[in-house]
């Protein structure tokens, strides 16, 4: 748990710097929001550890974040104002950097694959995105939402 907490602090610092370079938000303005986001995440992991149900941590983290920013939470506005300072794109950049740095790991396995599976994988990923988009679009046109 301690190493995870320290890791979140490190990533948080990296994201704050990225948020500063990319979106011009000064680190001082961004710090409270980043601390809240890190605290929500750490709390999510803590609850997952304590509660003896097989509920994945992604659900706990989402539920806590939703709760503290929903209208029923007394300090909703303060938390929303603080976390708005962190652009979600700035937070995703370090994530994709870690993804990039793990690229070489699977390259050996990839070279063993045939061309067929590569073609199929592109159709699989295209399909899940396009069909969901298409159904959502039909749904919105029928219900008249989001014109």
């Amino acid at each position: 748990m301690l190493d995870k907490t320290l890791t979140f602090i490190l990533i948080g610092i990296i994201a704050i710097v990225g948020n500063w370079i990319g979106y011009g938000v000064s680190p001082i303005d961004a710090l409270p929001g980043m601390m809240i986001i890190a605290a929500i995440t750490i709390l999510g992991y803590a609850i997952e550890k304590i509660v003896p149900l097989k509920i994945p941590v992604v659900i706990w983290v989402s539920v806590i974040a939703l709760f503290v920013t929903s209208a029923i939470f007394p300090w909703q506005q303060t938390i929303v104002d603080a976390t708005t300072q962190i652009n979600f794109m700035a937070l995703a950049t370090p994530i994709l950097a870690y993804a990039g740095l793990s690229f070489g790991k699977d390259l050996k396995e990839f070279k063993k694959l045939g061309w067929r599976i590569v073609v199929v994988s592109l159709f699989v990923y295209t399909g899940t995105f396009l069909l969901a988009t298409l159904i959502a679009e039909i749904g919105f046109r029928l219900t008249g939402q989001f014109k």
Partner: protein, 270 residues
């Protein structure tokens, strides 16, 4: 578990983030549509170059650590999306019906688009594992449990898993910006489509959509995050009770038709 604090990995990420954010957003018009290039993609591609085995900069162990940190760092992104979703709960509930229906597209899409192609180019039982889902970790576990880790079905699933890990985020973000710029779909429909159930893919697609529709960027993050959360929550259940039996059913009926031509020439391959 001190490995999560590997200074070399974090130092590389810090430098990559600084360079990537410094370059900023670029958009390339290619006639049929636009392709968005943005910091996330630079960080991904530059990171991938650094990790290439021929450069001997990172060891296998260090790349393994990077992938572990990736898994937990995504939770910070989930928390951020959650804080965007909280104030939008009424809008999410309003769109609840569509949000639920489009999940059908996420689960059916891999099969409907993937299986016929797999059969046409001569795949056999591998096609089932390859196309029944987007083949992330939980899906691999389902296939391995049912058919065994050395089965053709598992080989197909692992193949798509590896392709997705390597190129999924990059491919889907390019596809998302291209489809978005054509203008057929509403930004929110595309955002829901981006909730494919994989962290790095969803993040990269959300980024691409937010570049194409800057005025709707927060709504895009809200609905992509919500769709992704639903896909993740119901994913394992749907895959066991629906996707896998349905893929098997389609395989039984489609393989004799679509797999006919390739039966002889590709025996023993794949």
């Amino acid at each position: 578990m001190r490995e999560l604090l590997n200074w070399k990995i974090h130092a590389f990420v810090f430098v990559l983030v600084c360079i990537a954010e410094f370059i900023g957003v670029k958009s390339l018009n290619i006639g049929v549509g636009a392709i968005a290039f943005f910091p996330m993609l630079y960080a991904l591609i530059l990171g991938a170059i650094i990790s290439l085995p021929r450069f001997k900069i990172l060891s296998d162990k260090e790349m393994d650590i990077a992938s572990k940190i990736l898994g937990i760092s995504f939770m910070l992104f989930v928390a951020k999306l959650g804080t965007l979703m909280g104030p939008s709960i009424p809008q999410l509930l309003d769109a609840g019906l569509t949000l639920t229906l489009q999940e059908v597209g996420h689960f059916l899409g891999t099969i409907v688009f993937g299986l016929p192609v797999a059969l046409l180019i001569g795949m056999k039982r591998e096609a089932i594992g390859a196309t029944f889902s987007i083949d992330r970790e939980p899906n691999l576990a389902i296939i391995a449990e049912k058919y065994g880790a050395d089965s053709p079905e598992s080989r197909g699933a692992i193949g798509v898993y590896i392709c997705g890990t390597l190129f999924g985020a990059l491919y889907l973000s390019l596809l998302a910006s291209l489809i978005a710029s054509i203008g057929w779909f509403h930004p929110i429909s595309l955002a829901m489509g981006a909730g494919v159930g994989s962290g790095s893919m969803m993040a990269a697609m959300t980024g691409a959509l937010a570049i194409i529709f800057p005025e709707a960027s927060d709504d895009i993050a809200v609905f992509a995050g919500a769709a992704n959360l639903i896909t993740t929550i119901v994913g394992t259940f749907v895959c066991v009770v629906f996707s896998l039996p349905f893929t098997n059913f389609l395989y039984k009926h489609l393989e004799p038709i679509l797999g006919r031509r390739s039966r002889i020439q590709t025996d023993g391959e794949n």
